[in-house]
Symmetry: C2
Subunit: 185 residues, 2 copies
């Protein structure tokens, strides 16, 4: 509990949105989960729930971007993508398919700023992946299109996998993305 209320709010917000979605996450539940006073929400996020969710979406997005940098920093992009997908599959199963991607959940929020924060996260991931593909010798335009597609496809596979309570869609994605990366790289 060394973290301040702001960090606890962000972390709890991500966890609860992963489980219940944006509209399904209530402030009362968030308060008891984070052990935070109600007032602290509006002290750190004057815009209320929307601003808190948007901030936690950005936090989760940049955390994942850092993961992508670490995993794909050196060498084989195809191997890095496969690694990330299998790790996602492992986590999904370990959590009994109860938790999804917080960015995807934010992408379905009612609030436009929250959806925009999700879009920004997707975009930053694709940028990261695209740069790695260019470093492997791909044409820039090809790399950008392929990178955007891989991000969207993996997110879609995760969504289908969670609803079906099966990791197979993720392994399908790993396989087909592997074909795409093998074909032109």
């Amino acid at each position: 509990m060394t973290d301040g209320p702001r960090e606890r709010l962000l972390r709890s917000s991500i966890a609860l949105v992963r489980a219940h979605g944006v509209e399904g996450t209530g402030l009362t539940e968030l308060l008891e989960h984070s052990g935070t006073a109600r007032r602290s929400i509006y002290q750190h996020f004057p815009g209320g729930k929307d601003e808190l969710i948007a901030a936690s979406t950005r936090a989760a997005g940049s955390w994942m971007k850092r993961v992508l940098q670490d995993v794909g920093g050196q060498g084989d992009v195809a191997a890095a993508v496969t690694l990330v997908i299998t790790e996602v599959a492992r986590n999904l199963e370990a959590e009994d398919f109860a938790l999804g991607c917080p960015i995807a959940a934010a992408a379905f929020a009612d609030s436009l700023p929250v959806r925009a924060a999700a879009a920004e996260a997707f975009h930053s991931w694709a940028d990261e992946l695209s740069a790695a593909l260019v470093a492997e010798g791909r044409e820039v335009a090809d790399a950008e299109s392929l990178a955007r597609f891989i991000v969207a496809a993996v997110e879609g596979a995760l969504m289908v996998a969670r609803s079906a309570r099966s990791t197979q869609p993720l392994y399908d994605a790993a396989r087909q993305v592997g074909v795409l990366l093998g074909a032109g790289g």
Copy 2:
């Protein structure tokens, strides 16, 4: 207004879930949108909101399955997939990125039965697509994996496209799926 309250409830439910998600759709809003008495909900769907949403998810899923049968019934699978994606992109833009896929929204619901209904819809679409791929001469296992992936990838692209208020992710998907369908077919 020739339709009975059950049909109106299903149709309004689909429309509102596309816009606000499952948890974001309130029964009061649903009632005034459908012009239906509150009692009619529990007459046709004794399980309440959850049962109504699950039923509307199944209805939307089988409607889309029928569309896939019509579009892909004869001939070129790649052309059919491209056609569906471009139509989705056109609709998304025409609706100013306000409406998403009702099945995808259901896939993020809190309720397990609702998520299962979404998974069933995804599965039925993939079955349809897989059969068309087999008819083109693909191996069954390849066709099934590829079909599941295409469904997930297009759904992911639609999700990213709506959040980014851009049709580009959908056109990226059309392009890359075209590569996959051209590679092995």
